[in-house]
């Protein structure tokens, strides 16, 4: 555990927790502007969280501890990921956990907790959301792991710090076909994992189309605040991961205030750019039917498989 890792382990979660609602606000604002609306402002998600935290906690009848602890598990998994993944510094606070497989599996664990909570309510909505979410997760997982495989073969390790450092030292790899194919595959997967258009519409409450919102329909007050915060954090974490796997420049490699500041600004900037791009793209996209989503994921799976093939034949 190096000093750099410890500093990163403290700065990163603070940055992600504070910044992720702002990212969601920024994306909503961009969308509103592009659609010709005024928009509520970038700070609105934080104001919503403050309001929710002040509300009375509820316990819907017929739900159990599984329902009540799921938001906690969801935030905790995302928080661990925020600590260990190299966002601001190349070293990781808990290096043996900063494994790409472990990170992906941790994020899946959060989704599973939420799906169980949805089933636990015993309502049709909860079951529907859980069923759809697990279907998407089951299909996303292969693409995600094969894309990881493509990225880690050239480094010879699945350790995130190793992958990021290797890209830093050898910038030419970024424009290789392997990286490009894997990047496209990962973008599709991240859109699916974070429940954005065209896979899921985060602003819908129509029973025919809800996925994530159906699972969390019974949450209110502080519980809902946790779930909303965790969703925002997941989005930031995934976008930050995408940014630093392919474009890690700016990340701090030494413990100096200047380097840390540049690292923090760089990751905020990269995530903001990606978020704005995603929000702008969403304006032009309609939600896919649930049973068309597998075709999209199959396409991205093919790309990731091509990436692995390329990594062998071009090596």
């Amino acid at each position: 555990m190096s000093a750099l890792g410890v500093v990163g382990g403290i700065v990163q979660p603070l940055l992600i927790v504070a910044g992720s609602p702002l990212l969601v606000g920024l994306m909503r604002q961009v969308r509103a502007k592009l659609e010709g609306r005024a928009g509520p402002g970038v700070g609105q998600p934080w104001r919503d969280l403050r309001k929710l935290l002040r509300k009375e906690p509820l316990a819907p009848r017929g739900t159990s501890e599984v329902f009540r602890s799921a938001p906690l598990v969801l935030v905790a998994t995302t928080l661990v990921v925020a600590v260990v993944v190299p966002f601001v510094t190349t070293a990781s606070a808990v290096d043996p956990v900063a494994d790409l497989f472990a990170v992906v599996a941790l994020l899946a664990l959060g989704t599973v907790a939420l799906a169980l909570a949805g089933l636990d309510t015993g309502t049709a909505f909860g079951g529907m959301g859980a069923s759809r979410e697990m279907t998407i997760i089951a299909l996303v997982e292969p693409t995600l792991l094969v894309a990881i495989f493509a990225l880690s073969v050239r480094v010879g390790s699945t350790n995130l710090a190793a992958i990021v450092s290797s890209t830093l030292h050898d910038p030419g790899r970024v424009i290789s076909p392997v990286s490009l194919l894997a990047a496209v595959a990962l973008i599709v997967v991240i859109v699916a994992e974070t429940g954005r258009l065209p896979v899921d519409n985060p602003s819908t409450h129509l029973e025919l189309t809800m996925v994530h919102e159906a699972m969390i329909l019974e949450y209110a007050g502080p519980d809902l605040a946790l779930v909303e915060l965790a969703s925002a954090m997941r989005l930031s974490v995934f976008l930050g991961l995408l940014a630093n796997l392919f474009l890690p420049w700016g990340i701090a490699t030494a413990v100096t205030p200047a380097a840390l500041l540049i690292g923090a600004v760089a990751v905020v900037g990269k995530v903001a750019v990606l978020g704005v791009a995603l929000a702008s793209a969403e304006v032009f996209l309609a939600k896919l039917r649930l049973f068309r989503v597998p075709e999209l994921l199959a396409g991205s799976f093919l790309l990731s498989l091509l990436a692995v093939a390329a990594s062998f034949f071009l090596a």
Binding site: L53, L58, A102, L145, N159
Partner: protein
């Protein structure tokens, strides 16, 4: 006398005595005696297995027991690992059986065979000659068959399951028998040492035949596709503690067989052997979990999940063989260690899951997930333990299967740059298969746990469910502790597993080291399951503390669920296991090919009025239908044709005998 010898001796003696005692003791105390006896057998076996893993060894030759060849036993680390796993499962299953067997399973034959089944399974990995091995193997098969049939009077499906099992296990035995006899024919005697010496000098064609035949036999015992057809029938129909023994311990011996014959006796082989093993493993993993995710019968689902997990193990064994055949011994050791660790982890969580399923069956009388739900209120401990098992099975951190699948993926990743074009094509596809399996396993166990134990009860039986007796909870608790231990501290078991892998591969690469953090030696890779679980816990505590500081502090108020303003929700409005899996079933429609029949009965007066609608939905096992149905039909046709020869006339039968003898004499006269 080493500890290993004493342990195995005590295990066999106690097991045999327990079998005898079951016949003598009156029905009231019988299940207690048998349960405790089996658990003691297991403890003794565990001691022997651990001692053998630590390097102790012994050889026992009893020339007089079997005619011609005699009986030979020995223990090495590879056998010791499988012995320890089997014994561990027996401890949990025996403890569980004390109360579980009181409900209609305390007849003499069933109770007497149960400990003998355990003894036979303990002896298989200790056998040191072909004759001994086959004898123990067949004893194990027969004992398990009798146990599968325990409830045949109550449920007619049991008889059909028993027939499938009897036929397939014996076809498997024949394949192994022929394979090992061909091998023995080239050696001086039937001891494994002699086979080891003879194997390098055998023609490669004969080696191929031996490997393929034994692989077929062992794969059918392990429930590997396409020889799995018996497994999802026999495992659910057996009493649950027997299911646990079969699904967590007996199937492993198929893996043992492949490792023993492929690596140890034949000393490795050409690349295509291992590609075959790997392909079978990948196919089984994906197909097994696909069937499991769609199935709504809790025990059948677990049976298919066994096929999936053993598929992953075969995949690891195949990868290890592939690496060994191209000279990458470090990677081979890692892959085999991953496979063996998965055997250990799978034994722990599958025991727990089958025992918990048995408790559910005991409390509600049904295994149908569509009729369960809401069990967390009536049986909180069982619910918690099943949840632990489900987490362990779904390859999520901090679960049991996560560590072994991580190791397996590490081996596959590092295998890609190292060797030729065949590996370059195989490795990504294999990783994709492992990944798809992992994703579907998550969905499967969310379904099993979420639909079966959470939500509202879907039947009156589920609403009236009650917690199991103490000994059943203790049995499950033991298995649960094993799950937690393997999940958090695999490093404790890994050096021993490394010894077993070394014993199999026959070289000195340790593969994995480190107490808290697993570090792969020779290749880059490290993971710390303990730190992962610890940081998760710490993060949860931090979040909870912050929430207490920031959020308003008030008691939770009970509130109505959102029912669209239409009055209270009933259990009929819930998602069932079938509806939960429907999207996935639709996605994999081309693979699983479900059958749906809708019969509409009209009123007599008018075609426009509907009297009744019957809806039937079934997901048949497609491989079974495509592969087995034609064979069964052909056999039936052949049998029908044969009946024309057997009319019942004695004169005719005498005539057959006479002409056969005549024909034989003529053939002999012409050829001599």
């Amino acid at each position: 006398m080493t500890l290993a010898a004493v342990g195995l001796g005590v295990a066999v003696a106690v097991g045999a005595l327990t079998g005898l005692a079951a016949v003598v003791v009156p029905v009231r105390g019988r299940s207690t005696v048998v349960g405790i006896g089996t658990a003691v057998t297991g403890v003794a076996g565990l001691v022997a297995g651990v001692a053998a893993l630590g390097g102790q060894t012994f050889t026992l030759v009893l020339p007089g027991v079997l005619p011609l060849a005699g009986v030979r036993f020995t223990l090495d680390p590879l056998g010791g690992l499988f012995l320890a796993v089997t014994a561990g499962v027996a401890v949990a299953a025996g403890t569980y059986g004390i109360s579980y067997a009181r409900h209609g399973l305390d007849a003499r034959p069933v109770q007497a065979v149960f400990p003998l089944f355990v003894v036979a399974m303990l002896l298989v990995p200790a056998a040191d000659s072909v004759g001994t091995f086959l004898l123990c193997w067949e004893l194990m098969a027969l004992a398990s068959l009798l146990l599968v049939l325990a409830e045949h009077r109550r449920r007619p499906e049991v008889a059909s399951a028993g027939r499938w099992y009897a036929v397939m296990t014996h076809l498997g035995l024949i394949a192994i028998l022929i394979g090992l006899l061909v091998l023995t024919a080239h050696a001086t005697n039937d001891s494994f040492a002699a086979l080891r010496n003879a194997a390098p000098h055998m023609p490669s064609g004969v080696r191929d035949v031996v490997f393929v035949l034994t692989l077929a036999g062992f794969a059918s015992k392990a429930g590997i596709v396409p020889l799995h057809a018996w497994l999802p029938r026999a495992h659910p129909e057996a009493p649950s503690h027997v299911s646990a023994l079969m699904s967590a311990a007996m199937v492993n011996l198929g893996v043992y067989g492949v490792a023993r014959v492929g690596f140890d006796l034949l000393g490795g082989g050409p690349r295509w052997w291992w590609l075959l093993v790997l392909a079978l493993g990948a196919l089984s993993a994906v197909y097994g979990i696909l069937q499991a995710v769609i199935n709504t019968d809790l025990k059948r689902l677990l049976g298919y999940s066994t096929t999936e997990n053993l598929g992953l193990v075969f995949l690891g064994v195949g990868a290890a063989g592939l690496f060994a055949s191209s000279g990458q011994h470090v990677l081979a050791a890692v892959a085999l260690a991953a496979a063996l660790l998965h055997v250990v982890g799978h034994a722990a969580f599958k025991t727990l899951l089958f025992l918990a399923a048995g408790s559910v069956l005991h409390a509600t009388g049904t295994r149908d997930l569509d009729a369960l739900g809401g069990l967390r209120a009536g049986m909180p401990v069982t619910t918690g333990l099943f949840g632990l098992g489900a987490l362990a099975a779904s390859a999520l951190p901090p679960g049991t299967a996560f560590v072994s699948e991580w190791l397996l993926l590490q081996a596959l990743i590092h295998g890609l740059p190292a060797s030729g074009a065949a590996t370059a094509i195989v490795m990504p596809v294999t990783v994709a298969a492992v990944a798809l399996t992992a994703g579907l396993a998550v969905a499967t166990f969310v379904k099993a746990f979420g639909v079966g134990f959470l939500a509202k009860p879907r039947s009156t039986a589920a609403a009236r469910a009650h917690e199991s007796p103490v000994s059943m909870l203790a049995g499950m608790g033991l298995a649960g502790c094993a799950c937690v231990a393997v999940a958090l501290a695999p490093a404790v078991a890994l050096p021993s597993i490394g010894h077993a892998a070394q014993a199999a591969l026959g070289d000195g690469a340790p593969g994995v080291s480190g107490a808290v953090t697993l570090r792969l030696t020779g290749i880059v890779g490290s993971l710390s399951p303990v730190l992962l679980a610890g940081s998760l816990l710490a993060a949860a505590l931090v979040v909870a503390a912050l929430l207490r500081a920031v959020a308003v502090r008030r008691e939770r108020r009970a509130a109505r669920l959102w029912d669209c303003g239409a009055g209270p929700l009933s259990a009929r409005m819930e998602y069932t296991a079938t509806s939960f899996a429907e999207p996935l079933q639709r996605v994999f429609d081309n693979v699983v090919q479900p059958e749906t029949d809708v019969d509409v009965t009209h009123h007599e007066e008018s075609r426009y009025l509907v009297a009744a609608v019957a809806y039937r939905h079934r997901v048949p096992d497609r491989i079974e239908r495509r592969l087995y149905q034609p064979i069964l039909t052909a056999v039936a046709v052949w049998g029908q044709a044969g009946r024309r020869l057997a009319t019942g006339s004695v004169h005719r039968y005498l005539g057959y005998g006479f002409y056969t003898l005549l024909g034989l004499l003529i053939v002999l006269a012409v050829t001599r």
